[in-house]
Amino acid sequence: MKIVDDGTAKLVMHPARFKILQCLSGASAPLFVEQIAKSVGEHPRLVSHHLDILQEIGLVNCRYEIAKAKGSARGIAVRLCSPAPRLSEVLSDIAKAVKEVK
C-alpha cells in the first residue's frame, strides 16, 4: 500500500492528527485552527503543530487570512485549513487496511 511505503500512514496514525484529519474531512468549509482545536479538544498550539506536519506530508492545505479582532486596527493573521485532495484517498486506504485487519 502506498501510504505505508511512503511513511504517511505512520504519521497519520497519531491520535490527535487522526482526529484533526477526520474533523477536516467532515467539514464543508475551511476551518480556523481555533475551530479545529475546539472540535478535537486539543490546545490550539498543539493543533497548529500537527497541522504543520500534515501540511508537510501534503494532506492539508493551509493559508493565512487577515481577520478582524478587537483592539487591533489592522486585524490579526489567522490560519485557515482545508483538506488536500489526497486526504480522501489516504483515509479510504486506512479504512481498507482496518477492514483487512478485522
Binding site: G7, H14, L46
Partner: protein, 271 residues
C-alpha cells in the same frame, strides 16, 4: 554529526534495572543491619536472622518489581531470537541532535544507540554512563521534530544526572534518618517495616517523578512544548494507559504541566 550506532540490545535494559535493583539491595542490606543491631538485639540470633531475612525478601519484592524484571528478561531473551534486522533508521531524523545538545549547553559526543528489539518500546537513558537508547520503531513512526523533542528529554536526564543522584542520596539519607527515629518509638516490628517502606517509596518516587517532569520541561524549552506533548500523546495511545507509575507521573499531568510553557513562550514572543 552525531554518530548513530546500531546495536543488538540484548540485556541492556535488564542490566540497567538490575544495577538499580542491586544498589537498592545494598542500601536495604545496610539498613537492615542497622535495624537488626538496634531493635532486634534482645532476640535470639536465629529469630533475628529469620526476621531480617523475611524483611529483606518482602522489601525487595515490594520495592522493585522483581516479577516484572523476570518477565522483561524472559521477553527480551525470547524476542532476541526472533527479531531480525529489517528496518534501518534514517539518519535525517537525528541530524539535529547535536544542535539541540548545544542549545541545552551539553557536550554530548557519545553515540545514540538505536535498537530494533521489539520488547523495548520507549527510549531511555543510562544516566550513570550517559548513553541514550532509542527504539527504531519510534524513530520511524514519529516526525523528526518529535524525535528531536524525545532526544532533548533524554539529554535533560544526562544534564541533570548529578543533581538527580544527589537528590536520590538525600532521599536515602532522609529514609535512613526516618527509620532511625522511628526505631526509637516503634513497638511493633511489622508496623515499623510498613512505615519505613512507605516513607522510602514516597521519597524515591517523589525524586524520580520530579526528575521526569524536569526533563519534560527542559525538552519543551529546548525544542517546542507542542512536540513534547505530541510524543506523550503518541505514547498514551501506544501504551493504552495513562495511570502513571512510581517513576513517571501520569501523561495527562505531564501534558498539563507542559501547557504552562505555552503561556511563557507566548509572553516571550510578545516581549
Amino acid at each position: 554529526m552525531t554518530k548513530i550506532t546500531w546495536v543488538k540490545e540484548f540485556g541492556k535494559r535488564v542490566y540497567l534495572t538490575f544495577r538499580l535493583w542491586l544498589m537498592a539491595l545494598a542500601s536495604v542490606l545496610v539498613l537492615s543491619i542497622i535495624i537488626g543491631t538496634n531493635i532486634l538485639f534482645l532476640l535470639p540470633l536465629t529469630v533475628r536472622i529469620t526476621l531480617v531475612g523475611i524483611y529483606l525478601v518482602v522489601t525487595e519484592i515490594m520495592m522493585f518489581p522483581f516479577v516484572q524484571l523476570i518477565t522483561v528478561s524472559a521477553q527480551q531473551t525470547i524476542s532476541n531470537f526472533h527479531y531480525s534486522k529489517r528496518h534501518k533508521p534514517k539518519e535525517l531524523y537525528l541530524q539535529n541532535a547535536r544542535k539541540i545538545a548545544g542549545r541545552m549547553n551539553i557536550e554530548y559526543n557519545k553515540p545514540i544507540y538505536v535498537t530494533e528489539n521489539p520488547s523495548i518500546k520507549s527510549p531511555f537513558t543510562n544516566a550513570f554512563l550517559g548513553k541514550i537508547y532509542f527504539p527504531s520503531s519510534e524513530i520511524e513512526e514519529l516526525h523528526h521534530t518529535e524525535n528531536e523533542a524525545t532526544f532533548a528529554h533524554e539529554l535533560a536526564h544526562i544534564k541533570y544526572a548529578s543533581r538527580f543522584i544527589g537528590e536520590m542520596f538525600l532521599a536515602s539519607l532522609a529514609t535512613w534518618i526516618f527509620a532511625m527515629c522511628l526505631a526509637q518509638f516503634a513497638i511493633n516490628f511489622t508496623a515499623f517495616i510498613i512505615a519505613e517502606f512507605a516513607f522510602m517509596m514516597f521519597a524515591f518516587s517523589f525524586v524520580i517523578r520530579r526528575n521526569e517532569s524536569r526533563a519534560d520541561w527542559t525538552a519543551g524549552k529546548a525544542t517546542t512544548p507542542e512536540a513534547v506533548i505530541s510524543v506523550l500523546e503518541y505514547f498514551r495511545a501506544k501504551c493504552k494507559g495513562d495511570g502513571g507509575s512510581i517513576t513517571h507521573p501520569s501523561i495527562q499531568a505531564r501534558i498539563r504541566r507542559l501547557e504552562r510553557l505555552f503561556d511563557s513562550t507566548n509572553q516571550q514572543s510578545e516581549d
